[in-house]
């Protein structure tokens, strides 16, 4: 039995999410192989071969895979996948985009966002935005899985010495084209990857007041989020939304400012390690999940907190 992991990378560096997937694969047991599909991505394969626990790296270096278009890469993974018992990718946007396509080509179901390995065919995954945890058993011969990074520790990036094997198969479906990319230039980390998040809700009053949170976030190296109420009120754009229909986050520290704590919001952040709530309503439901609650007017408390950190 061998397990194939699809590397998350940008043709230059191996992304950390891959390391969490390696840990999940190690828990399933068996030989762990990593596929690096891209263009000019030798450095990624070198990094993957150094990951502890990996026995082989498959390198598919071809212009057709440069932007990892799902149409092309899925054909490659489906072809390779028949030799494996498990095909795994991190549940990043790239993994979520690719893997269901692979599963359908292999005619198997997929298990999304797995957070726990019980055995080689039984896994746990959150459903209903994390309000329930389902234990599911796959009856398929090949298990196609995406791994939620926050569910598994990262494997050591050093200490391994896997062999690198070139894969020559070229698949170009020719039905999609990469046009361009616009990566956020913000110095702040991306919301789903941030270790600290400062979020504002309806209590912020207006969009300008979010500057208070941005200043605090800059001091903490944090990302800035928002509740749906703040988005619906037009304070901030909806890509900042944390919650059931927004982004699901699990940072080390989540600071909720002027957020009442409606269940849809809690669904997106209640797996955070430490939750701090600042709200002037001491009855607000957010205090029921907060490790540290401060009943205070945010317009006094946030600048003071900013000053004291």
């Amino acid at each position: 039995m061998a397990i194939l992991i699809i590397a998350e990378h940008d043709n230059q560096s191996l992304k950390g999410a891959t390391l969490n997937a390696v840990t999940a694969a190690t828990q399933i047991g068996g030989d762990v192989h990593i596929l690096v599909a891209g263009a000019g991505c030798q450095a990624v394969a070198d990094a993957a071969s150094a990951v502890a626990g990996v026995s082989k790296v498959l390198l598919a270096d071809n212009a057709a895979y440069e932007h990892q278009l799902a149409e092309n890469v899925s054909l490659l993974v489906a072809e390779l996948g028949t030799d494996y018992s498990h095909v795994i990718a991190p549940a990043t946007t790239a993994g979520k985009n690719l893997m269901p396509r692979v599963a359908a080509l292999l005619d198997v179901a997929q298990l999304s966002d797995v957070i726990r390995v019980d055995s080689e065919d039984t896994f746990a995954r959150p459903i209903y935005a994390g309000n329930a945890i389902a234990t599911v058993k796959s009856l398929d011969a090949i298990k196609v899985i995406t791994i939620r990074g926050t569910g598994f520790d990262a494997a050591a990036a050093e200490g391994g010495s896997a062999v690198i094997e070139a894969v020559t198969a070229v698949h170009d479906a020719g039905i999609s084209t990469f046009i361009g990319e616009e990566m956020a230039k913000s110095d702040r980390p991306e919301l789903t990857a941030a270790s600290v998040i400062v979020s504002g809700g309806r209590g912020m009053g207006n969009g300008e007041n979010f500057a208070l949170l941005e200043s605090l976030a800059d001091k903490l190296g944090a990302a800035v989020g928002a509740s749906r109420a703040a988005v619906d009120a037009g304070f901030v754009p909806n890509d900042m939304q944390v919650g059931q229909t927004g982004k699901i986050v699990a940072p080390d520290l989540y600071i909720a400012v002027g957020i009442s704590g409606a269940i849809q919001h809690l669904a997106g952040m209640k797996d955070s390690k430490v939750i701090v709530a600042i709200n002037k309503d001491e009855e607000a439901p957010i205090f029921s999940v907060a490790d540290y609650g401060l009943v205070a007017d945010l317009f006094d408390a946030v600048p003071e907190l900013d000053g004291k950190l």
Binding site: A184, L253, K308
Partner: protein
């Protein structure tokens, strides 16, 4: 062009789900149901494409028991032209849903399928991608902007860390992200008119699809409860706790 919009009936996003006491599943008896929020965004995008003169007909399709006709009627009230219900007793898994939708696509020949990126019950985020794979169509997941130009469509996608723009050959499958649009509300006259729009009922057998489920549900448990926290009296105490007790700053 014709646009197909699959919509799903799910628990209303405001409802807090309860896990059944025997841990067999969540309890959906007597809870409010609604159209999945990402499907609303898909319907809205299709209606906007029709208003812009790009689309000529919008077909809303839903898979499930008779109750899902309610969500099809909602889509019709929002601007879809006709509906198709695929009658199944329980919700099929994503692969079976994709196979059912594939059969509908082959019968109706839409140029675009626009659907939500995930449903808020199973949280799978699979059906659109699987449908695209089965049809050998290109896909654009997590769309935040859609521009149809001739026989191609340009889609901007929300990816980790930014935005990516792709150009797909039509026909194609697009799945919607939150930023794509703000869905409208159905007006009362449109809700009344929607009652008279055509709604076909088909079975998986009509479509020649066998609905299976290769994943069995072993148990459903509530998530771990958080330990009760404490209230601090001042910002200084909060900073002290974060630095010395939680050690997170």
């Amino acid at each position: 062009m014709k646009i197909l919009v699959p919509v799903k009936r799910v628990i209303d996003y405001n409802v807090k789900v309860r896990v059944k006491s025997d841990n067999s599943d969540v309890d959906l008896s007597n809870v409010k149901m609604a159209m999945n929020p990402f499907c609303e965004i898909a319907v809205e995008e299709a209606v906007r494409l029709k208003e812009a003169g790009v689309a000529s007909e919008i077909i809303a399709v839903s898979i499930g028991d008779k109750a899902c006709q309610e969500q099809i009627r909602t889509a019709l009230a929002l601007g879809a032209d006709r509906g198709i219900q695929i009658e199944t007793e329980s919700a099929p898994d994503a692969l079976s849903a994709a196979k059912l939708l594939k059969a509908v696509v082959q019968a109706e020949q839409p140029q675009l399928v626009i659907m939500g990126k995930q449903s808020i019950d199973s949280d799978n985020n699979q059906t659109g991608q699987m449908l695209a794979a089965l049809l050998d169509y290109p896909q654009a997941t997590f769309a935040s902007e859609v521009k149809v130009e001739g026989d191609k469509v340009q889609v901007t996608r929300e990816i980790d860390g930014g935005l990516q723009t792709l150009e797909l050959d039509l026909p194609a499958v697009i799945t919607t992200d939150l930023r794509l649009n703000e869905p409208r509300y159905a007006s009362l006259p449109n809700i009344m008119k929607a009652k008279r729009k055509p709604l076909d009922v088909k079975t998986p057998a009509d479509l020649g699809v066998e609905v299976g489920n290769k994943v069995t549900l072993v148990a459903v448990n509530p998530p771990a409860e958080r330990q009760a926290g404490i209230k601090v009296a001042s910002v200084s105490e909060l900073v002290d706790k974060l630095k010395n007790e939680a050690k997170v700053v």
